[in-house]
Symmetry: C2
Subunit: 340 residues, 2 copies
DNA sequence: GTCAAATTTGACTTCGAATGCAAAACTGGA
DNA sequence: TCCAGTTTTGCATTCGAAGTCAAATTTGAC
């Protein structure tokens, strides 16, 4: 093994190296790695042998340049610490991988990062993007301008038509509210999500409307989707209802869990005997023995599958219309609420 | 705006387009986007103006090809569902982003995927990799062969010298065991992690040894790092100790939580009055009111910071030796154990 | 063995930005 | 105004694989 050869391996052998080693042209090597190309069996064998010997792997960067297909998809997620997203991310990544597509991950710490992130997204010429973060209409429009298909996850393009995959907040909250009302509750509280969360607002609005339709009032306190804010919001609700609240609707499971712990530990309230609590998402801890939260489980597998399928479709056929797919969640009865 | 121009924007304007628009050469455009290059102020202005008008963003793919620097780093994680990893992933991604480096994410569903993942890693000519998954020695060696720096996260290269960042299992478990022994416990149980987890084995071995040094026996049952296996392992331990176990050491927090719930709910055992439980990691739920797990909190921020710094150093200077950095965890006293 | 058809192969160009080098354009001092 | 020195600019080449097209080879029918 010459030093030149060793260096080649270090830097990554090229198709020319393989061609020389196998005594063929670079074109032949290229064809050999392209499924369905015309290469004689003997030639293919020689080339594969040489490729193995040199540790050759086609340079995806060079491929991307000439084919104008990077096989990269950007996944943009704002808060990975929301227990719901890691599962989504793992599913998306594995499904995309299975389709021969790599994931360029962008995790946003603050809103202001978005433009920097988009700059990078454009630079890498991604074939598409899946977004679970809040983007401005102009930012969404930029995707369309550049012909980069996007799928929004659990949010819709506000004002801009964008393809999206969502879990139906309205039907989910209806089911929860109906069951709570059947269960003979009198004072309803709601813990909302942060004001900038699309699903948070949608869920709360759906619950509030349904309660209204059924002739019930409710008090709303804002949280920010985490455990501590569930605790804090519960305290606030107990204060303003003079401890009379007996039904609590939370915009996600994590706040429901915070509220349950707070009720039990800070107030000595029994859940569900004296207070019914319901959540939304169906994340892991919701099913723990201590909580068994009554909640709506999002069909994550079906939703991620749809997101990937829709994205791939649009990469192949950019003219497809911005379909919105809405998935119904499943009511997990749990035991954190007395239902009718 | 001509149709040709519109198309250009669609496909992504090139430096030639910008050059033509600004009336300069492609080289000038290229220099204009390279920090510290020599461009006259007036020229720079013209170019930037044209770039803005055309929505030009340098093609990172083409840059990567010519400079042999993709500015991509692979992050390989086996189980994102382990509550500990999302936090690590978010930190790593944001820190790398801040350094102008993009993350190519690989999430492994099964062991067997590793070789496919590595194939892709080679194809994309990543500048480096951060690995929180079990790789065979030959797989690790492949990184060295190709001159791609790797940092292992919470594991070390078995047999192969590889740079790594770990949280010190031994000192952590020593602290926990010492405190438990001080707390007058008599029957010790351990819930181990899955056999293929490096940190799992290390933690259990450290705890077992320390107990032995202090003259205590212990019973070990294997779990797999999730909530359900904490529950199952607790049941098993209660059975084989004839309900006499009064101290339980878990290889991670999630199993500790499963065990606490199981003890309280399935056996009516008070924690920590009748049973002390300790964990490891310091993940979010460990601090919830219902648990307040006595545990070792890993210094995730410092660890991820170190991992990124070490990786960047090695990308610049590949000859650097495979340093191992060990971070001490912090004992979170919690209230799931009676300590001395 | 011949010849047309089918298959396989290689030369050459392309993708878009970076860079060495030489030419061009400035700068300021005399 | 001229010239040496400096800064700015453009030409031409490069990175590595894909794809077009024409040349070379193989195939098989007669």
């Amino acid at each position: 093994m010459t030093s030149g050869l060793a260096k080649r391996i270090q830097r990554g052998a090229t198709s020319y190296d393989v061609a020389r080693e196998a005594g063929v042209s670079q074109s032949a090597v290229s064809r050999c790695f392209k499924p369905g190309a015309s290469v004689a069996p003997r030639t293919r064998e020689k080339i594969m042998e040489a490729a193995r010997a040199l540790g050759y792997h086609p340079n995806a960067i060079a491929q991307g340049l000439i084919t104008r297909r990077s096989n990269l998809v950007a996944i943009i997620i704002s808060n990975l610490t929301n227990l719901y997203y890691p599962e989504v991310l793992a599913e998306l990544t594995q499904r995309l991988s299975a389709q021969g597509i790599r994931v360029l991950l962008f995790s946003l710490a603050t809103e202001s990062d978005v433009d920097e992130v988009l700059d990078q997204v454009w630079r890498y010429r991604v074939d598409g993007a899946i977004v679970a973060a809040r983007l401005h209409p102009e930012q969404l429009a930029a995707f369309a301008d550049r012909g980069v298909p996007v799928i929004l996850y659990n949010r819709i393009g506000e004002g801009v038509p964008v393809a999206s995959v969502c879990c139906d907040s309205v039907s989910g909250e209806h089911a929860l509210v109906d069951a709570l009302v059947e269960g003979e509750h009198h004072v309803f509280g709601i813990i909302a999500g942060p004001a900038d969360s699309y699903v948070g607002e949608e869920r709360v609005e759906a619950a509030r409307r349904r309660l209204q339709q059924l002739g019930r009032d409710c008090l709303i306190v804002r949280g920010n989707f985490d455990y501590a804010s569930g605790d804090a919001a519960l305290k606030e609700l107990m204060r303003i209802t003079d401890h009379k609240m007996d039904a609590l609707i939370c915009a996600n499971d994590l706040m429901a869990i915070g509220a349950i712990d707070s009720a039990r530990i800070n107030f000595g309230i029994e859940v569900p005997q004296n207070l019914s609590v319901v959540g939304f998402d169906g994340v892991g801890p919701a099913t723990w023995l201590a909580y068994q939260v009554t909640t709506i489980r999002q069909p994550v597998r079906r939703m991620t599958e749809a997101a990937v399928a829709m994205l791939l479709e649009r990469i192949e056929r950019p003219e497809l219309s911005p379909e919105q797919r809405l998935f119904a969640g499943e009511l997990l009865p749990g035991s954190s609420a007395r239902l009718g």
